[in-house]
Amino acid sequence: MLPALVFLIVVTQLPFVATVVISFVRWNALAPDNRGFAAFDNYKAVFTDPAMRSAIWTTVLLTVTVVLVSLVLGLGLALLLDRKFTGRGVVRTMLITPFLVVPVAAALLWKHALYNASYGLINGTLTWIWKLFGSADPPQPDWMTTSPLAAVEVALIWQWTPFMMLILLAGLQSRPADAVEAARVDGASTWDVFRYLTLPHLRRYLELAALLGTIYVVQNFDAVFTITSGGLGTGNLPYTIYQTFYQAHDYGRASAQGVVVVVCSLLVATFALRTVSSLLREEITR
């Protein structure tokens, strides 16, 4: 265990310490001579920056929407797939596919092949349907400019729903069948079985899915970077830090942003870990 611990501390924890130190330094790589102790200047800049405030809001909105919607959709799909029907294996394979497409490729696919206003599949289908009814004037909205955040969210929900479904499906399949049988014999309706047997059993799987989904969606960079390049109010925290560091070269301020993000994450993480600790406590320990 020790090698793994040491490795993790060196590679993940030490950089954060360095980040904290740099956040107190006035340091822009474009002006290397003007470097010095900045006290809280970087933090002042971060908290008065409207872009940063909007990035926090965007991150929260993006994460909550994507995780909740894909969790509900994933639950529905898992319940559908938990039954026996012809071609179940094929349907499961089709449903898993979005999760397996490389995120950048998926983002490119949505941006160019689906959302594109002039030849994307969505507007193309609209044209096709309108033609069926003899109209030459179909609506052709530019999805990425009219509702940019929703465009990013839909692409992410498409990618993450299969992930949620996989976890919940594993949960459903570990559900003891005899309890359901017994309830049925006692005259319980489908809804009763779902409400009083399935849902309580799935609770821990739902929590786990939400937790893992949140960890990955909060840190999303690929979709925001590719689909909108952070424009039109879709710049989330990772993208904003990337910009401050990689394009503005303001090392001090990027670090301060990083520290703020870490503190926020820790608050959320403490809450989330408490949930997980309930997961652990109920597990048989040896």
Partner: protein, 288 residues
């Protein structure tokens, strides 16, 4: 008595069967809806550029390998092989490293419980919750100083740290399935630690190890942020190549779809082949 029951049950049974097939149909429709974008990507990749960019879509247009030939450098002179090889190196090497570090750690955490094992487990998971982007700058500066920028082995180290916590979690629950009795029996029979590990633990834990390796491989293959900031011409990985591909070539939809398909192919193939392992692995076995 029994005859009346059968007659009473029959309509309900028929109704149940009807809803059953309706729900099966609903599942099929959902499956197709989720698969459609990928199918569209693959279909477009086999179209000519002119057929790819039509409105309404030209579903029945003739198929061509033009997009793939262009992607593999026929018309542009930019070869995708170095980034593909870089991705392979980074994913395989970091996955091996993850296994080498995670298996002993998970063994220690599950089979021979150390004190405060749950605290250690929390620590592993908590490193996963810190946004990676906040550590990016120091990593960049250190890499610059030790001249490891644009070096694929830097990514190997970072991807290892990225996947290690999840791997420890997954491995621990898989190893916990090894029955204690067998371990005790083995030690009574005088088996040493290496023998126990190879002959008893490994066979039971092998599917779990495979699932962990698969997840680690997928996340490494997909990573973009670190690769984009820390690599350049030499060590750029496939996702980086893909983002550059669009901007430097302008938009050729068929070619972009071909590129996206090729780069997704290794993960798709591995994922399809190991679906059941993936289901088991993603639930982390943590909630059994």
């Amino acid at each position: 008595m029994s005859a009346t029951t059968v007659r009473a049950v029959a309509p309900a049974e028929r109704r149940r069967r009807r809803t059953g097939s309706l729900l099966g149909l609903a599942a099929w429709l959902c499956g197709i809806a989720f698969f459609l974008p990928v199918a569209w990507m693959v279909l477009t990749s086999f179209h000519s550029e002119a057929d790819a960019a039509t409105n309404p879509p030209s579903v029945g247009a003739g198929l061509t390998l033009h997009g793939y030939r262009e992607f593999f450098g026929a018309g542009t002179g930019v070869s995708p092989w170095p980034p593909l090889l870089n991705s392979l190196t980074a994913s395989v090497a970091s996955t091996l490293l993850v296994l080498a570090l995670a298996v002993p750690a998970a063994y220690a955490l599950s089979i021979k419980p150390v004190r405060k094992w749950s605290d250690v487990l929390f620590f592993f998971l908590s490193t996963k919750m810190l946004p990676l982007v906040a550590g990016l700058l120091p990593v960049y500066l250190i890499a610059q100083n030790v001249r490891m920028l644009d070096d694929i082995w830097l990514l190997v180290i970072l991807y290892t740290s990225m996947n290690l916590p999840i791997a420890v979690w997954m491995m621990r629950s898989f190893l916990a399935e090894v029955p204690v009795e067998i371990l005790e029996a083995a030690s009574i029979d005088g088996a040493g630690l290496p023998t126990t590990l190879v002959r008893i633990v490994a066979p039971v834990a092998l599917p779990g190890i495979a699932a962990t390796a698969l997840i680690s491989f997928i996340f490494s293959w997909n990573e973009l942020l670190f690769a984009r900031v820390l690599t350049g011409i030499v060590a750029g990985t496939s996702p980086v190549f893909l983002t550059g591909f669009v901007t430097s070539q302008g938009l050729f939809l068929a070619k972009v779809c071909a590129a996206a398909t090729v780069i997704s192919l290794p993960v798709l193939a591995a994922g399809f082949a190991a679906q059941d392992k993936l289901v088991q692995g993603l639930s982390l076995g943590a909630v059994k």
